[in-house]
Symmetry: D2
Subunit: 388 residues, 4 copies
């Protein structure tokens, strides 16, 4: 981080706002090679995922610590091939893909040559409820034909993006959680159009982008189906376990960075004759930020430990808890850093804070609003008292 | 609003994001003419400001209601020549400008032909404390020479911007609140460079912009001084009274709009088999939004009433209170509307919410962080118990 | 207040904790006589309630200001015959009572000789939903026979309590809001037993008490029925309008007192080498308290104005809003005063704060939890968008 | 807990409110004997404190789990001789007491025959700042003479209380943290008067009580000095480490109990046609309670682990964090359980909630307001950036 990432931050972020922003800066590809040389590559492949020994054999607890460090700079995860949605997509291919699919798509993803996207959310329906999906996947002979409109398909704007995992309904008459399937779609494909990048608070997250995508009679070989018809919901659930922990740990790194920026600025600025660091309300918020960060980190590590010991199912409650806690914490800490000690400056591009804030808000929405996760937690809690 | 403003909203906002965004859309100028025809022009000139009867003779309470209505659409105030920072700048010219200055600068501003900016905040110091200003205003013969770097100079990017009110120190050795002066600077002027637009989150607020501006030996006639040397702080204080009420009432209009969007969306969307409007936490937040909006409106009207009856000084506590309350309320309501019922969609440009959110955050910062206003309120409160 | 009430506070409150606490201190009765002499008596009888000119002819807005002043000391309202639940009960008798009932019960209540209680809440059911009531009122010849168990019957422990208004079901098969009726019950009555005082936290609110009461075959003349069979719910609704405003304004007086105690203490105490009043977080909370108090007061006065101009129905939204806002505000302000500047001392009886806190919490519960009122507000808000 | 404590809860708590409440119920002494028989005695003596092998050899992490279980019932800790302030006082004697003091006072405390109190806080000064202490300890020949007024001396009302640890100044002219000393005072002693029990929200916590105590020329042998003159502050600091973790873990047990009561009640009660457990805002608060409890538990266990591994100094930050987090969490959870699902009932003695609430508030104040701990955390955090 200190030797390679922070020194590159300003120019990479500037590139992401300039006219060439939908291209990948050469600097990023060079840093990826450097990471490979240092053996810092694909560290996300934890022991449980690693039958072919492609990874570093870390536990989820080990990797969580790394994800935190990477979270401090928006593009750092990419440099070590550990960025979303690629890790989740590669994990799906590793766990649920046929040998053919692995052979076709994994090598370029694992080497960092290709990138991928995950097309689930749809503009027409409340996307936090996966059973709402309206896109269709129709069997025709030995192929599947895909139709639908997706959005928030992160990474689809990236020029290197060559794989899409697409969720749609194969059988709308099946039981509610068995209607959905997932297929792998090569990009580009005839009928697949990337329509536009969506902005989050004015940020378009170039060069990856959150895209709106249209699929009109896109046809893929039947062998591109993952796991089996009607098992899309099951894959979606499985995909979310470790990935959520990574997201949350990155948010902790992000929050640590915001807090560090807050402390530094508070030590430099003077207002009304006093350094900001001497002002009681600022000190109190620094303390609250430390409290929230430490609590959330312990909660995430507890979730990672639960996965390591019992798999994603054993970690269900823990993962629902961190999904609520981590984004709220990161949003709060970054907000305080931005508004309270940086003032107007904190909102503009001279500091990374407003971008970090938008990132934290995006992750907060990534699997539906907090309400959805609070609801799962409540259900689990009330079930503990069933026999009362 | 219904006949002219809402129908134009989509195209004006789209213009503000396109390649031509630093130009003024023709549609805006046409709507301004329409407003003049309807007699809806310069309504901000309330009775107390109106020796020359240029305005409509409204009280501050009357105008507050209008400001709320205008606040629902970001560019609505401009259409009736009631937008910041022009109203504040015209008010300063009306109250503190010599006849010469009024003659030179007011007509074009009052007719809407010209726009203006207010250059106070500086990148190098905590700007919430006006005594921190480091820019200089040096007398040389019958001219003043201005030097300094300013930012958050809203409106300076606008192609129509032809007047700047500039704050700097004429005498750094004077008592703390008598070092500052204000002068009027025509734009363009030799030595005055508009460097770049600052973004708030990812929004650049085109075509007005929040600019960083550099003044290097900019020379203006001595007659461009406002009120007198050392009276800049006094003007700044006076400028903030009614203007803050306008800002806050616009925020109420903004919040009403967010709440209306929240209710509409909650009536349409279904998640987990229930309409959003039937979900308890969403209902509770709708209720809290109504509560916060009504409380804040009453507080703003109370401040307007205080100004109407006793002038800005009598309204000091009330104005400090609304400065804290109105932005916090608008930020909260818009946040809930955005995140809780619109989900990811709420963050992108398909809805006005993320832009409204950024606006509310910008106004929250406009005169320094909440801490500064809470501090003034506390001082006034504790002073009531001096003799205890 | 300054001449009579504050000087008596310590001894009256001490009496309320001593062995004789279930008796009325002579001092209170003397102060009531003094209030009558000064013409400060039954001021709660506002114009709209006053066909017989028993009151002072105040508007609800006028009286709201008085209620605030009285709210600063727990027993002050009683001294001017303006305390709950007597005002509500007298109002019910004035508005819905037959001439016979008025003649029998009003004079002693109006003169302050008698006190009264209101028996609605029941231990067995969620009392915020008035349709849950299980007590029965059975017609037998020219009498009604009452059965049921009530609690939180405030004032029933008072030795002067001689009137109970009792709610029960006359017809459980009627539509949901027409099953309930109200009757007036003289106290004592055969079959009516006051079982025990309930404590709020550790406070029993002697000498009035919040009682649990049992009615076993209590028989009253049929003429004691108020308004008509099946109209109990209607009376309960009507009873709540002005009374809620009084409650809320008393809470504002209570909060003003807490804030004043907070400021005074902050000016006296030193910790870690600084006066508490100089500490930033304390100043910020003093400011927030001032903000919340002023906002809530304006909201209450707005509700009072709505009643004055359009009656209780026109004030429905406003009253639901203050029911949420006023107790939350009073609880928060008192909590901050208690914990943050008084420390452990704030929790004990050496300061009135812990008792004020318990009072505010009691009023917060008095018509059901906040959820119930937020739900009404949400319903009204969403209805505004019905045609969208 | 299930076999012995819960069955006794109702009668022990009733005893604590009755006329005999300042005596110890026989049931408690019997349960203590039962605990000894079961080997559940003095489990608080963790390995690090245990040179004489009087304890069970638990780590702080081990004991933390027990403290949580005990925290669910207010008197449970006493039954296994693990209640405050005895554990802290015994720890002080073990660590800092001479052999003479240990011989004189420890056996009866360790056997549960005697109880003790800790006299530090004073009514005249802000007690969160230990250097404020005004009581005096004067050497006279081979004795010390003690003078001062203390309050919040928990346990001093207990008829078994026979040991006081008293803090006062031996040398007001020494450096700020070396003026204080601690001595052991046998109770009763001539000149030592227990003046009155202080109530917390109306609760007097009989039979232990929080007492105001006066010492007038109380004389003790010089050998009763702990550790050395001027080392009182040092002892106070050392005393707070593990004890704070115990307190916080008890608060977690308390909160778990409140949450369980909340869930049970929510499953039983019906309001407005729906079970409370089906109402969205209640479900959301149940989820938030689970989140806060789990986060806080992990934080406390992290602090315990830090003590186990590096002693109290290594745990400084962690302990300051839990001091803020645990009481706030317990107060919030209990408040929600009390108000939101129990309604008015939650505030009275029919449920343990209001007493648990007062307990949580008392512990929140026990070492000064949250501000004090937030301030320490901020100082540590800002120090991490000293060289920036």
């Amino acid at each position: 981080m200190r030797e390679c990432v922070y020194p590159a931050e300003e120019s990479v972020m500037r590139h992401a706002q300039g006219k060439e922003r939908w291209t990948v800066p050469a600097e990023v590809e060079e840093l990826k090679e450097e990471a490979k040389r240092r053996g810092l590559w694909n560290l996300w492949i934890t022991r449980d995922l690693d039958p072919g020994h492609d990874g570093a054999g870390l536990t989820n607890v080990d990797y969580a610590g790394l994800a935190e460090v990477l979270g401090a700079v928006p593009f750092a995860s990419e440099l070590v091939n550990c960025s979303a949605p690629d890790t989740g997509n590669m994990e799906v291919l590793l766990k649920y893909g046929s040998e053919e699919l692995k052979r076709k798509f994994l090598p370029d993803l694992l080497s960092g040559k290709a990138r991928s996207c995950f097309a689930m959310t749809e503009p027409a329906v409340a996307s936090s409820d996966a059973t709402n999906v309206q896109s269709t996947i129709r069997r025709e002979g030995d192929r599947y034909v895909l139709n639908g409109r997706k959005w928030w398909t992160s990474g689809a704007m990236d020029p290197r993006c060559s794989v899409m995992i697409f969720m749609g309904k194969t059988d709308p008459s099946a039981p509610r959680h068995q209607q959905q399937s997932m297929v792998v779609v090569p990009m580009p494909s005839p009928g697949l159009r990337v329509l536009r990048p969506l902005r989050v608070f004015g940020f378009d997250d170039a060069p990856h982008g959150h895209a709106e995508v249209e699929l009109k009679d896109v046809s893929v070989p039947a062998s591109h189906l993952l796991l089996g018809e009607g098992r899309g919901f099951e894959i979606a659930q499985g995909r979310l376990g470790p990935g959520r922990i990574h997201h949350c740990m990155r948010l902790i790194g992000l929050a640590e960075r915001s807090l560090a920026l807050m402390c530094k600025r508070a030590k430099q600025r003077v207002a009304f004759g006093k350094k900001l660091e001497e002002q009681g309300t600022i000190r109190a918020d620094i303390a609250r930020a430390r409290l929230m960060i430490n609590q959330t980190r312990l909660l995430c590590l507890d979730a990672a430990r639960a996965i390591d010991m019992g798999g994603p199912k054993a970690a269900r409650e823990a993962i629902a808890l961190i999904k609520v806690a981590a984004p709220q914490m990161a949003v709060w800490v970054t907000d305080r850093a931005m508004q309270q000690v940086h003032g107007a400056a904190g909102f503009c591009d001279d500091f990374p804070l407003s971008f970090l804030y938008a990132q934290a808000r995006t992750l907060q929405m990534a699997d539906g609003p907090d309400e959805v996760h609070l609801e799962s937690i409540a259900r689990m809690e009330l079930n503990k008292h069933k026999q009362d």
